[in-house]
Amino acid sequence: MFGFTVGKLLRASTVLLGVSFLAFIIGHASGDPVLLLVRGDATAEQKAELRHSLGLDRPVLAQYVDYLGHALHGDLGVSYRQHVGVAGLIRSRLPNSLELAGAAFAAATLLGFALGVLAALYRDRWIDHVVAALSVLGQVVPGFWLGLMLVLLFAVHWRALPVSGSGGIAYLVLPALTLALPTMGRMARLVRAGMLEALGSDYIRTARAKGLGESEILLRHAAPNASLPLVTQAGLEFGDMVGSAFIIESVFAWPGLGRLTVNAVLQRDFLVVQGCVLVIAVAFVTINLLVDLAYAWIDPRVRAR
């Protein structure tokens, strides 16, 4: 186990190095930040002076090493557009993104589970068809389009929910629901299949023969088995959800990391983008590492690979 862990850690570190370098290079290629900072009538000498004072005329590798060094201490530089620390910006937006992702994830799993169960129980009735249609809808249209349609219906037409922004629970509903829909659809289908399989299996028949009540069968026997595939799927879905969150946050003006990144990209605020990319990549790699280690600990066969 120890050797396995060390191996995984080493690999994760090299990946992180690669990721940070990639982020730095792409950020650098994004454009010249000096132009972001000066007014139209600045002279060439003024621009050169500014470039020097920001350290942008040094060789690229030197700048990268410098950046990495600072990053390890938690200093991700200062935003060119907003003149505040990048790390601080990220720290202030991260909780919002987590709130959105958490709410969406909870909605997707809980509602997905509930809908899957209902679809299995009332198989071939109208609710089964509705769930199937919803699930298909979640996969074939762009998530943000669904979001726009929901906005059109709930916020513009009926004025029941806010169009965008953040504030209370009401502001969270539409973005979380929009983000959750594709995952919810997939979960519902999985759960439905699992439930149907479970309900038709031998041990359920035995349980019924023994005289157990329907709800007890459902809760104690069928549902737990149906939710196994849900757990594995959930892990895979999380990565997708984070990606989609970027667009959803823009549509709903949700003050999270995604919107910060997209705006920073559009404004060529490359230190902010680098910082966001780095933070998210580090999170991903870390989570994957932990999951790998957890699986290996539970299932020794995995270690042999």
Binding site: P142, F144, G243, I247
Partner: protein
Amino acid sequence: MSSMVLTMYRSRETRLGLILLTVVVFAALAAPVLAPFDPGAVDPNARLLPPGSVHLLGTDSVGRDILSRLIYGGRLSLTVGLLAVLISALFGTFVGCMSGYFGGWLEAVSGWLIDVQLSFPFLLLAIFLLGALGGGTVAVVLVLALGTWVNYARIVRAQVLSIKNLGYVEAAHASGAGVLRIIGVHILPNTLSPICVVASFSMAQAILTEAGLSFLGVGLDPSTPSWGTMLNDGRDYLLSAWWIATMPGIAIGLTVYGVTQLGEGLRELLDPRGRR
């Protein structure tokens, strides 16, 4: 081939999907004939008209016909998607082949690159790259290709490894066959089927991703009619001119459904033969 199609035709969903796909592809190909107006023809006096007898699906904020833009937009979105899939399939297959066949440092490096790429949520990488590259059709195609090449690489590599294990390769080597011939005769034909399945799902993903990127403003040039840019156009007009944003969404939905059904159909078809 025809037996394949007939088998797929039996399933109701697949049938519907294939029909939709055929309609969309036909419309895209016949665009110059089918579109009632020039998709770029601006007419400020006819702006923001609701769907009606002259403009079947209404007009946008500068008076362009939505239906015509939808048809030409489909052309662009499908072309971009197809090119992206082709490039990613070729590149992914190549990398998978090489790393599976030769192993060693080649496999290690490509594996590492894949890990690095997968550490970013793809959309983030796409936005980042397009921001740096500046958008435009070529950049979008390349970035979309970046999104799926890994799938091909993995499948092909797995195939190569299993075929290596079966001894064909050693036998062929012994009889003097070159690397290219071995790959071409023994390996590639067996990978074609799973590649096709992956390709259909990649196509669906490419269309959706292009829509998202163009919507954010980092994808295709906003003046070119693509389904994604049309969605962006309609964003500020949800209350006053809902048709601008709604129509492209429906078009995307129908097309992606068709492509996905094609993929599902292919997968079921090839399932008994493959090991997956």
